[in-house]
Amino acid sequence: MSAALIQSRQAEIIEEFALFDDWMDKYEHLIELGKDIPAINVARKTEEHLIKGCQSKVWLAADEADDGTVLFTADSDAIITKGLVGLMVRVLSGAQARAIAEADLHFLDTIGLHQHLSPTRSNGLASMVQQMRLYAAALAARRA
């Protein structure tokens, strides 16, 4: 069921962003979303949870729930990155580990923000997604 959950959350975000056809409006919305991100506990903003992009920093923490789902919390020092991180957390957090590891993440493409996932963008987002998948894959393997 978790794969369907990830799909429906992506669909929801795509629909939400369809309201904005102007580039700047889209970013205005992204900045607002960044403010509501399920923020990582300040005490966990340590080197251990830091994903260092070249330009912006991202912190990510993953917690395993009893039912095998994964809860993500995150933060960034750049607001736009924070909005993007928030979207990623919204799509993946609370899903089953295996579904996260195998998720087909297409929503950034559809809403026209895919360039932020490019490794050359150096904002830490691509590395964060990789970390999320690795954590989930390790957890799924452990529980299998």
């Binding site: 205005e28 736009i80 990155t81």
Partner: protein
């Protein structure tokens, strides 16, 4: 009197300046990363590839001779442009980085030994730090940085003190800083270094596009620059070296072109400049770079420099009037580079929102991490950098776009 007519006259030479980005007219203010190319360069390179190409220096046939003359003609143009004493003092490289690596590996390996030092500044690009660190590590030598003052001026007192204290074998300094815009007094620095017994290298990557260069009056042993920041193609640059220095240096890379004769009993090397040019060079790039120099010289380096001074003054007064903006680097002598921070905001956010408005700038540490650390700028700066075709109107548009971005982020 400022020549504000310059962009009007030359913008038509740059087809890319007509395009839109995200539905907005492009405002290209990332010239310190790479300048756009005039039609003379684009068409010249195309014409060479379409009608004249052959490998150089070897062929007995017509095309090979034509290509050789054109490529060697470009070498002469570079030599004339920077007032080198001899054309063979110009070595073609893939860029400034390659040129510095050549000196670090060839000169450095023969002249540096345990306990020696190489003096650089805290405003160097990584390209004028890392090659020295690499050779120093292998020789047991050390790289020492000279301090930069809060306004972005090189700390001359610290420079002279370091010369005295460390007696460096090499002094490697940037002519104009890619992050701060600061123009360093390189003639003075080279003279002091020479007196202290040091060899000198000047990184002219950000000087070549902006003002006239005279290596004989600078008095440097080595001077490097890259073509693509000076309206030429990427993948090409040059090393200028004092002839006596280059002649005494061993070749760095081995291969074709750089040899006189090869046998398994021993190989003898070619004369300057070919000794340092192993393999087939970037022929079309060299020829196109010669055309870029022609293009700049047809305008006049003084005219370009004067226009960019107007742009810097305009940008300083316009941007510093924006509440919360602080300009990083306010040296009295600057090229067309303006770095800034906006209080409490991340430069990545600002750069992204400027891009959305069609404004191309660069954000981050600009390959000068030690300088960013020195100034405590954790998220780097937002850098606007200008060229001969930049207008004050574009700076005004970038300023309004910046104000809008700041409002959105607050």
């Amino acid at each position: 009197m400022a020549n504000t007519a310059l962009p009007d006259r030359i913008r038509r030479d740059f087809p890319i300046l007509e395009r839109e980005v995200h539905g907005k007219p492009l405002v290209y203010l990332d010239n310190a990363a790479s300048a756009q190319k005039p039609l003379a360069v684009i068409e010249g390179q195309r014409e060479y590839l379409a009608n004249h190409h052959a490998n150089i220096h070897r062929g007995a046939h017509h095309l090979a001779q034509w290509a050789t003359e054109a490529f060697e003609g470009a070498r002469k143009k570079i030599a004339a442009h920077i007032n080198a004493a001899h054309a063979e003092e110009i070595i073609f490289t893939s860029g400034s980085t390659d040129a510095i690596n050549l000196v670090a590996q060839s000169w450095g390996r023969t002249h540096l030994s345990a306990g020696d030092t190489v003096l650089v500044t805290r405003m160097e690009h990584h390209a004028n730090i890392v090659p020295w660190q690499m050779v120093c590590e292998s020789r047991g030598a050390q790289v020492i940085p000279v301090n930069v003052l809060p306004d972005g001026v090189l700390d001359l007192e610290d420079f002279h003190a370091a010369l005295k204290q460390y007696r460096p074998k090499m002094v490697a300094v940037v002519h104009a800083s890619n992050t701060l815009g600061t123009i360093n007094p390189v003639s003075e620095l080279c003279a002091a270094a020479r007196e202290a017994g040091a060899a000198t290298l000047v990184d002219g990557s950000q000087a070549l596009p902006h003002f006239g260069i005279d290596v004989q009056s600078i008095g440097s042993d080595f001077y490097v620059a890259t073509a693509h920041k000076a309206y030429g193609p990427t993948g090409l640059g040059f090393l200028h070296g004092r002839k006596s220095m280059l002649e005494a240096m061993p070749p760095w890379r081995g291969g074709g072109e750089m040899i006189r004769s090869v046998s398994f009993q021993g190989t003898t090397y070619n004369d300057l400049p070919h000794k340092f040019e192993a393999g087939t060079p970037h022929i079309s790039g060299g020829i196109a770079f010669g055309l870029a120099l022609d293009w700049m010289n047809a305008i006049g380096m003084d005219v370009i420099a004067q226009h960019e001074q107007v742009l810097v003054q305009h940008a300083h007064s316009t941007l510093s009037a924006v509440d919360g903006v602080k300009i990083i680097g306010t040296a009295p002598n600057k090229v067309g580079v303006v770095s800034l921070i906006a209080e409490g905001l991340h430069s990545y956010d600002l750069g992204t929102l400027l891009d959305g408005q069609g404004i191309a700038v660069r954000t981050g540490h600009h390959c000068t991490e030690p300088l960013m650390d020195h100034f405590g700028l954790e998220s780097g700066t937002l850098r606007m950098s200008f060229a001969a075709y930049t207008t004050t109107l574009e700076i005004d548009r970038a300023t309004s776009a910046l104000e809008r971005a700041m409002r959105m982020l607050r």
